[in-house]
Symmetry: C2
Subunit: 360 residues, 2 copies
């Protein structure tokens, strides 16, 4: 409602600016269209260097914003080329046709592409400006590098907050009200809390197994946290790789192969440590139990690595933000799976290998 | 060794470039000095607009890199001002002294300042270039906006990886060898695994208490994960706030106040849900146990919020990277504290309030 009022006031004092705002509002909030500025220097394709100088001066009359390029735009707002402002300084002949200085293969983006993609391209090709061109070939304006820096900072704040299972904040920490924080954090805490209910249910379900394996429940937090930690590592690596474009969703099988191998190696290391720990500091438990702990760790770390790496890719595939599979979310999922892996390992090692009778 | 060889070859083919590389190598790897380029247009303070045009053309003879500013540099390399390239286009009078167009209050940074701080300032003030000036007032060169975009992307990748308890990677995911990954992930997994040993020790230590409270250990993963999750939320918020400069280490008491309040509110919500859960789905346990679970959740979430928020600030204070207090690290710490809080809550609620005899 407050936005509407501001808008009505703007329409009265500056109808042209109001029109521009309305134009921008058409596009989704995180799209290229939303970052477009129409403050750029535009000349017809047949313009001379002298015309370009005049056009630059006209814009400078209005304000002193940076100008990097002069765009050659034909009738119907079709972009045909661009000339850098350096070129205007380079040559003296004011009658020189600009078309001689035009940069070939000008990059551009459509207005509905995501701002993160624009940032990625501008950063990759070291561009200071990016023209925005709609489906009909009409130039809507440009995106400038300073807006892209803001986008990078903002998107990365959001990613980090999502990784921590916090709904992204729009405002700095101290400017966010306690009520907003309780909403943005409480929602995910409650979801995760309900998720963890299953650990209690799973433990209770396997009551007879744990009753047989005296003291085994005391190992549960240790075991499931190893899964959560390896899952966090995998998911942060993959989420970041997807964000900077190092990893593409179609690479999922390569990721799976690497994470499986990584899970076996890392799980093997933790498994040996866990095995020795039981043998040395918990001698009552015996070799069978030590082996169970070792095998459980391998299984849990492999699960952590594969679930942690594939879940972000799966989310990206279906068009969701991979960062939404925040690491606490993966940890909770792996917690429940970890209890099942623990019980199955115990059944296999103690029941099948060691022939311990009575294991349910 | 390979770097040395390349350097010797460079010294032979281009001694000037080699000197520049040596100059840059003097500064720490993540400092402003490391990002400096000496490719900028420089004229004496008494130069005219015509002199500046000539200087720009000379640099353009060499290559076609963007040029945004012309720097007025006096004898002894002292920076006295800058003129934007727009100004050269704006005026026709080639005899106009550049000093008339100079930008007042030019910002600059010393070479030993961290690159992240440079990125923050350039992003905050929308600068396309930042001059670097050493302690003697000598201008070393400039940092350009495209390098800053790379810095932002790289630093933020590192932060995200540290949050996931992975040693920062220097190369993309698929280019990192499995051996490197095992080292960079294995180290932290082992550290965290040893940390989690204390959960097993703590649980065993309280054996008599858990023996009395039948089935209580089944609640442990559920309870401690609530602490880990709220701790992750707090630490990601604070680490990100410190990185973008919204939060300063001297604000620790304000952070503590907010996180205490937040912990009480969020813990209260989870406490009520946990209380109702026990009452409804675990009726054998009775009201006393339900109250214990509720109180434990308040205590654990408060601990998660305060530890998770203060640890990154403490690290920053002693000059370490706050992101090193990765969220799995905070979760492990809060796991052990959570078990202690659980037992103390049981003693208080069941022992003191409900007068249950025999609670050790």
């Amino acid at each position: 409602a407050r936005g509407d009022e501001i808008f009505r006031r703007l329409e009265r004092v500056d109808p042209e600016a109001a029109l521009e705002v309305r134009e921008i509002e058409k596009w989704p909030e995180t799209s290229a269209g939303h970052l477009v500025t129409t403050r750029y220097v535009q000349v017809p394709p047949e313009a001379t260097l002298g015309d370009a100088v005049t056009a630059v001066r006209e814009l400078l009359e209005e304000d002193d914003d940076p100008i990097y390029f002069i765009y050659l735009v034909s009738e119907g707002d079709h972009l045909v080329g661009a000339v850098s402002i350096r070129s205007l300084v380079r040559y003296d002949d004011r009658s020189m046709p600009l078309s001689k200085l035009t940069i070939a293969n000008l990059m551009s983006v459509p207005p509905d592409v995501d701002q993160e993609e624009v940032a990625r391209q501008m950063s990759k090709y070291d561009l200071s400006e990016m023209p925005v061109i709609d489906a009909t070939g009409k130039m809507l304006g440009i995106i400038t590098v300073d807006d892209i820096i803001d986008v990078l900072t903002q998107e990365q704040s959001e990613d980090v907050q999502k990784l921590g299972a916090v709904e992204p904040l729009d405002v700095p920490y101290f400017h966010t009200s306690i009520v907003d924080f309780v909403k943005k954090r409480g929602f995910w805490l409650i979801v995760l809390f309900f998720g963890e209910f299953f650990t209690q249910t799973a433990l209770r379900h396997y009551d007879p197994v744990f009753a047989m394996l005296q003291g085994a429940t005391y190992y549960v937090p240790l075991l499931i946290s190893a899964g959560g930690n390896s899952g966090s590592q995998s998911s942060t690596l993959i989420i970041r790789g997807l964000a900077v474009g190092d990893i593409k969703p179609r690479d999922w099988y390569r990721v799976l192969g690497r994470e499986l191998l990584m899970g076996i190696l890392l799980g093997g290391i933790l498994g040996v440590i866990g095995f020795l720990r039981v043998l040395m500091l918990d001698r009552d438990q015996g070799v069978g139990f030590a082996l169970t702990i070792g095998l459980t760790l391998v299984g849990i770390v492999v699960t952590g690595c594969t679930v942690g790496s594939l879940l972000p890719i799966a989310l990206k595939r279906v068009g969701l933000d991979p960062a939404t599979s925040s690491t606490p979310f993966i940890a909770s999922l792996v917690d429940v799976l970890g209890i099942i892996i623990f019980v199955q390992s115990a059944r296999f090692v103690l029941g099948t290998l060691f022939g311990q009778p009575g294991l349910p």
